[in-house]
């Protein structure tokens, strides 16, 4: 995490490179949108889960990469969204689907606010780490006691929604249609987060990450902005969970444990947490690895844990950090740190 790699990851690119990047992004979105006609349903499901994991990882990295706080129980927020949406669709809360998504995100943000009030006032990351892990475990306990949430068996048979916009209806009950909706939703969420990160708010977050004391010195209310970041992050994670429930059509306690909480951490670090796009690259890379090693169950923990340790020790800036280093070396702009 030298200054050079940070600067390289956060901008200072030439205009042509920016335009090239936007073009690649546009092509990628079009390809994602056309994917139902190009690949088989199994792979389509993997792509859909990758999109959700990407949003989930982005929400975690807003906290870690941009505000300097680490949550080890982010699966708790994901589960809030997933279980709420699952219950809303299954028991028919008489809410439009878009309202369900909004409420799910809001719930995540409110829980984040509650934790923030408890922990962020005097936040060494260790308190937040233990508290977020405890939150997730407590949630798993509560869900395990709730017959309406399926106890240990999970909440199954979740119907896919129909969006009624008054003038016309969008029927998402077919898998391909829901997948297209998911692509649109992901693009919107990513765009919103990009805007947050590059707005005045995002610059405030980064000032806190760089040096909380100095940020306080120039008049930033550090505790308040940490809570705001935590709320945006928790809300986005809940939204990712909310989008996942109609795709998988079942929500289980497997999504509320330590391993589930590691996924966004792993994806962010693998892709490179210093870059906005890192978590997305990491999610795609990890889904690919997972897809080709799916025949060896039980080794997933060894893989996940091992990759995490190696990435931290060897390449803390992840794939994008390595690419940035290579790019600078190729351009001859002082590849050395």
């Amino acid at each position: 995490m030298s200054e050079a790699s940070l600067a390289a990851a956060e901008g200072r690119r030439s205009g042509t490179e920016t335009r090239l990047g936007l073009l690649c992004l546009a092509v990628l979105v079009v390809l994602l949108f056309l994917a139902p006609g190009l690949v088989n349903p199994g792979i389509l499901f993997v792509i859909g889960m990758t999109l959700i994991q990407a949003v989930f990882a982005l929400s975690w990295n807003l906290l870690f990469g941009f505000t300097g706080l680490a949550s080890f129980g982010h699966a708790g927020f994901f589960a809030i969204g997933a279980y709420f949406t699952g219950a809303a669709l299954r028991y028919d809360f008489h809410l439009p689907f878009l309202a369900v998504l909004a409420v799910a995100g809001l719930l995540g943000a409110l829980v984040a606010l509650a934790i923030g009030v408890v922990a962020l006032k005097r936040l060494t990351g260790i308190f937040l780490a233990v508290l977020t892990v405890a939150l997730t475990e407590a949630m798993a306990k509560i869900i395990g006691f709730s017959p309406a949430l399926g106890e240990q068996d999970g909440l199954g048979n979740i119907p896919r929604p129909v969006i009624d916009l008054g003038l016309f209806r969008i029927d998402l009950t077919h898998g391909d249609d829901y997948y297209r909706f998911l692509v649109v939703a992901t693009v919107l969420i990513v765009a919103a987060l990009w805007w947050v990160v590059h707005s005045r708010l995002g610059r405030t977050f980064r000032a806190i990450r760089e040096d909380a004391d100095r940020a306080r010195f120039v008049g930033i209310d550090v505790a308040r902005y940490r809570v705001i970041s935590f709320m945006i992050s928790g809300g986005t994670a809940a939204l990712a969970g909310a989008l996942s429930a109609p795709l998988t059509r079942i929500v289980t306690l497997d999504q509320v444990n330590w391993l589930a909480s590691t996924q966004p951490i792993l994806n962010s670090l693998l892709g490179g947490f210093t870059s906005f796009w890192g978590p997305i690259v990491g999610s795609a890379a990890f889904s690919t690895i997972n897809y080709f090693t799916r025949g060896f169950p039980g080794l997933s923990e060894i893989m996940v844990g091992g990759i995490l340790v190696v990435v931290i020790l060897v390449a803390p800036t992840g794939i994008l950090g390595l690419l940035g280093k290579l790019r600078r070396r190729a351009l001859g702009k002082g590849g050395r740190k």
Partner: protein, 293 residues
């Protein structure tokens, strides 16, 4: 009523001491290295598995049982040395976030290794015959094995307090914990002290695994379920403070036991409320250790 109160207190004490056996190594290594080792529970779990593999499910006597626990402690100590050389040593001068994430990865890695070696089936280990019976106190049955766990926990606490505050080694360790640079300038071999502390913490984890293995069904998840309580105890007690951790463990044990007795349908929830209340009331813990912020 009174027999129920005795039951709650006794059970709570037993659980608290079981938590303390796990939390002791955790708080020890945090006090000196300032690294919260999230993998601690996983090494506790490996210690329990090693004890099962060495000693089998039916220990012949309390002495073989303790010997097996010491073998597990030594084996996990060796693993601790390897972990220190390969991972923890490289994390000493980086931001604590990386240390947390790396030890988190290490925890998953260990769980995966346990699954690969021992499978996901549950194993049961019996307490040694001398303590595998119950006595009646105040109208309720009390297992002698839990008395043994309580005794071991108290003995461990006494030993740690004596080592930390009454011996030369403890003095050196406190010096390194307070100011490693200054300790180095007065001639203390700081890297050696740090390495030995890490190994000591892992030895404690392995020993706890060996002693507590009859306490519950043995599975790769046993580490995660125990270590969460240990983390909570360490945070409530004041990071790095052995006395605070000890008291927090007792508190957690009694709250958990009262919760299980009086509100069994919501078992396991009260300790999270306790955690939230403790963090709001005393954010630095019951006994904030010196040198930690």
């Amino acid at each position: 009523m009174s027999s129920q109160a005795v039951f709650v207190l006794f059970n709570g004490m037993a659980q608290g001491m079981a938590f303390f056996l796990v939390a002791a190594g955790l708080t020890w290594v945090f006090g000196i290295l300032k690294i919260l080792n999230l993998a601690h529970g996983a090494f506790f779990m490996l210690g329990a598995y090693i004890a099962y593999s060495v000693g089998g499910a039916w220990p012949a006597s309390i002495w073989t049982f303790l010997a097996v626990a010491l073998v597990a402690a030594a084996a996990v100590g060796v693993l601790g040395y390897l972990t220190d050389v390969l991972v923890l040593r490289r994390l000493r001068n980086v931001d604590y976030h990386y240390a947390l994430i790396a030890t988190f990865g290490l925890m998953l890695f260990c769980e995966g290794v346990a699954k690969a070696i021992w499978g996901t089936d549950y194993f049961a280990v019996m307490p040694p015959p001398e303590v595998d019976r119950a006595i009646v106190v105040g109208g309720s049955y009390i297992s002698v094995y839990t008395l043994f766990v309580i005794g071991t926990g108290l003995a461990l606490y006494a030993a740690l307090e004596i080592v930390m505050h009454r011996t030369w080694a403890g003095k050196i360790m406190r010096a390194v914990s307070n100011d490693p640079w200054m300790a180095g300038t007065v001639g203390i071999n700081v890297p050696l002290v740090l390495m030995l502390s890490v190994v000591a913490s892992f030895v404690l984890a392995g020993f706890a695994g060996g002693v507590l293995v009859p306490n519950q069904a043995l599975s790769p998840h046993v580490g995660a379920s125990f270590v969460l309580y240990a983390f909570m105890a360490v945070v409530i007690g004041g990071l790095g403070s052995i006395r605070g951790t000890f008291l927090a463990c007792i508190l957690l044990g009694i709250v958990e036991s009262a919760n299980a007795t009086f509100m069994a349908q919501y078992g396991g929830i009260a300790i999270y409320i306790l955690l939230a209340v403790a963090l709001v009331w005393k954010p630095n813990g019951l006994f904030p250790a010196q040198g930690t912020t």
